[in-house]
C-alpha cells in the first residue's frame, strides 16, 4: 500500500514538473491604431521563468504585442485593444486595475538606454520610492545594491553611485535601465530590442544578464536579431503582418520550423 501511494506521489510530482506554468495569457488580442488594425486575434501564452522572444519583420506587430502586456499602448492616441490578457489570474485591461501598479509588476526596458538625468543611485531609487518599497535609507541602499548586483553592474559603479547615470557607456546605461526595472521587484520584464544600440561586447553582457534574470523573472524580448533570439530564448514567437505565425521551442524554431514564413524569415530568404 505504501508502495502504491509512493508511486502515486511520484506520478503527481512528475505531472507537476511537466505542467507548463503560464505567467501571462493573451487571448484573441487585437490592436487598432485608429482605423488601422495592427494585430489580428493573437493567442500567445507567456511561460513563467522563461525567455520568450518575439521575432518578425518590421511592422509585423511584435512590438505592438509586447506593449499590450503592460498597457504601454494606453499612452498612444487612438489605440484600441480588444481580447483578453491576464497576468496570473488578473485581467490587466479590467477597469479596476491600477496601471501604475501593473507596470511595476510588468516592467519594461527600451531600445535606447534612457537613464534619468540623475545620479546612478537616484535612477534605481526612483521606482522603489514612488511605490513605497523602502522604509528608510538603509532599506533603499540595500535595494539599490541588490538591483545593481542583479544587473551585473555593481562592481563597475559602486564607487560612483552619486555620479550621473548618463555618464556611463551605452552598455552600462542599458544595464542601469535593467537594474531600474528590477528595483521595483517586477514579475515580468519586457524588453524592446534592448541591444540594438549596443556593441557586441555590451550585447553579450546584456544577454548574459537576461540568462541570469530568467531564474527569478519571466522575460519577453522583441529582437530584430534572429541570432539573439536563438541565443537567449527558450520559446520563440514569429509574427507576420499582424498575425502570430508560429510559436515553438526555440531549438525547434531554428532547426526545423513548422511554418514556411518562419523558415523564409529566419533563413533570410525572399518570402
Amino acid at each position: 500500500m505504501n508502495m502504491l501511494s509512493e508511486a502515486a506521489v511520484e506520478k503527481a510530482l512528475d505531472k507537476k514538473m511537466n505542467e507548463v506554468a503560464y505567467k501571462m495569457i493573451g487571448k484573441d488580442v487585437s490592436v487598432y491604431y485608429g482605423e488601422k488594425r495592427a494585430l489580428f486575434d493573437v493567442n500567445l501564452n507567456v511561460r513563467e521563468n522563461t525567455v520568450t522572444a518575439l521575432i518578425g519583420p518590421s511592422g509585423c506587430g511584435k512590438s505592438t504585442f509586447l506593449r499590450t502586456l503592460n498597457r504601454m499602448n494606453d499612452t498612444i492616441e487612438g489605440c484600441r485593444v480588444t481580447g483578453k490578457i491576464t497576468l496570473d489570474t488578473d485581467d490587466i485591461y479590467d477597469k479596476e486595475i491600477d496601471v501604475v501598479e501593473l507596470r511595476a509588476r510588468v516592467g519594461m526596458v527600451f531600445q535606447k538606454p534612457n537613464p534619468f538625468p540623475k545620479s546612478i543611485y537616484e535612477n534605481i531609487a526612483y521606482g522603489p520610492r514612488i511605490h513605497g518599497l523602502a522604509r528608510n535609507k538603509a532599506d533603499m541602499d540595500a535595494i539599490v545594491e541588490a538591483s545593481l548586483q542583479r544587473a551585473g553592474l555593481w562592481a563597475e559603479v559602486k564607487d560612483r553611485l552619486h555620479e550621473g547615470g548618463t555618464g556611463l557607456s551605452g552598455g552600462q546605461q542599458q544595464r542601469l535601465c535593467i537594474a531600474r526595472a528590477v528595483a521595483v521587484s517586477p514579475e515580468v520584464i519586457l524588453m524592446d530590442e534592448p541591444c540594438s544600440a549596443l556593441d557586441p561586447i555590451a550585447t553579450a553582457k546584456v544577454e548574459e544578464l537576461i540568462h541570469e534574470l530568467r531564474a527569478n523573472y519571466t522575460i519577453v524580448i522583441v529582437t530584430h536579431s534572429m541570432q539573439q533570439a536563438a541565443r537567449v530564448s527558450q520559446r520563440t514567437a514569429m509574427f507576420h503582418l499582424g498575425q502570430l505565425v508560429e510559436e515553438n521551442d526555440t531549438d525547434k524554431m531554428f532547426t526545423n520550423p513548422d511554418d514556411q514564413r518562419t523558415q523564409d524569415y529566419i533563413m533570410g530568404r525572399f518570402g
Binding site: M226, Q227, A230, F254, T255, N256, P257, Q263, D264, I266, M267, G268, R269, F270, G271
Partner: protein, 237 residues
C-alpha cells in the same frame, strides 16, 4: 521549393557546396567501377589510376569542409540551410570513405594478378559492384532532387547488396575448402567483396542524410539488413 536568399553571395556558397558534392560523387562512382574492372581483368594500369584518383577525392573533401566551415562562420545558417551544410559535411565524409574502399580494392589487383580471378567469382563480384554502383548513382540523383521519398526507398534497398555479399562469402569459402592454393586469392577477393558491401552502406548513409536534410527528421525504423555472412560457418542448429 525554397526561394533565394536576400544575400546572393550566400546562395553562391551553397551552390558551390552542392556542385562539389556532385563532382565528388561522380568521381567516387567511377572509381568503384574502375576498381572492380581492374580486378577482374587484372588491369594494373587502371588500378593505378584508381589509386591516384583517391588523392583528388581526399582533396575535394577537405575543400568542402573548409568552405562549409567558413560558410557557417560567416552566415550563421539556420533551419534548412543549417541542415544542408551539416548534411554536406557528412556526405563528403561518406564519399571520401567510398573512395578509400575503391582504392583498397584497386591495391589488391596486384596481389591476385598471378592467379587470376575465377570466372564465376568475377561475375559475382561484378554483380555486387553493379548493385552498389546503382545505389550510389541513384543516391546522388536524389541528392540533386532532394526527394525524401526516394531517399527512403534507396535506404530500404541496401538489403539486396547484403544478401548478394553473403552468397559471395559462401562461394569463396567453398573455393578455399576445395583447394588451399585458392586461399590467398579468395581472401583478397573476400576483402574486395566486403569493400563493395561497405560502399552500399555509405550510399545508405547518404540516403539517410538527404532524408534528414529535407525533412529535419531521421528516417524511422531500423535499416533492413540481410547480411548473414557473420554467421556463415556457425554450427547449424
Amino acid at each position: 521549393m525554397v526561394s533565394s536568399h536576400i544575400l546572393s553571395a550566400y546562395d553562391e556558397e551553397l551552390k558551390y557546396l552542392r556542385r562539389r558534392i556532385s563532382e565528388m560523387g561522380g568521381l567516387a562512382e567511377q572509381m568503384c567501377g574502375d576498381a572492380v574492372r581492374a580486378l577482374v581483368n587484372g588491369d594494373s594500369a587502371l588500378a593505378q589510376k584508381v589509386i591516384s584518383d583517391d588523392v583528388i577525392l581526399d582533396h575535394a573533401e577537405r575543400e568542402i569542409q573548409d568552405k562549409a566551415i567558413v560558410t557557417i562562420a560567416r552566415r550563421q545558417p539556420v533551419a534548412i540551410d543549417l541542415r544542408e551544410i551539416i548534411g554536406t559535411l557528412r556526405i563528403a565524409g561518406d564519399l571520401e570513405r567510398v573512395g578509400d574502399l575503391g582504392k583498397n580494392t584497386a591495391k589488391r589487383v596486384i596481389a591476385v594478378q598471378g592467379h587470376g580471378v575465377p570466372r564465376k567469382l568475377a561475375r559475382g563480384l561484378e554483380h555486387l559492384s553493379d548493385l552498389a554502383a546503382v545505389q550510389l548513382k541513384e543516391v546522388l540523383d536524389v541528392y540533386a532532387s532532394r526527394s525524401a521519398e526516394k531517399a527512403e526507398a534507396i535506404r530500404l534497398r541496401d538489403e539486396e547488396i547484403d544478401a548478394m555479399y553473403t552468397s559471395l562469402f559462401r562461394e569463396l569459402l567453398t573455393y578455399m575448402m576445395e583447394d588451399p592454393r585458392n586461399i590467398t586469392t579468395c581472401t583478397h577477393l573476400l576483402f574486395c567483396a566486403k569493400n563493395i558491401e561497405r560502399i552500399g552502406d555509405h550510399a545508405t548513409n547518404i540516403a539517410e542524410t538527404i532524408y534528414y536534410m529535407t525533412t529535419g527528421a531521421v528516417p524511422e525504423g531500423e535499416r533492413p539488413k540481410d547480411d548473414t555472412a557473420n554467421t556463415v560457418g556457425a554450427i547449424a542448429d
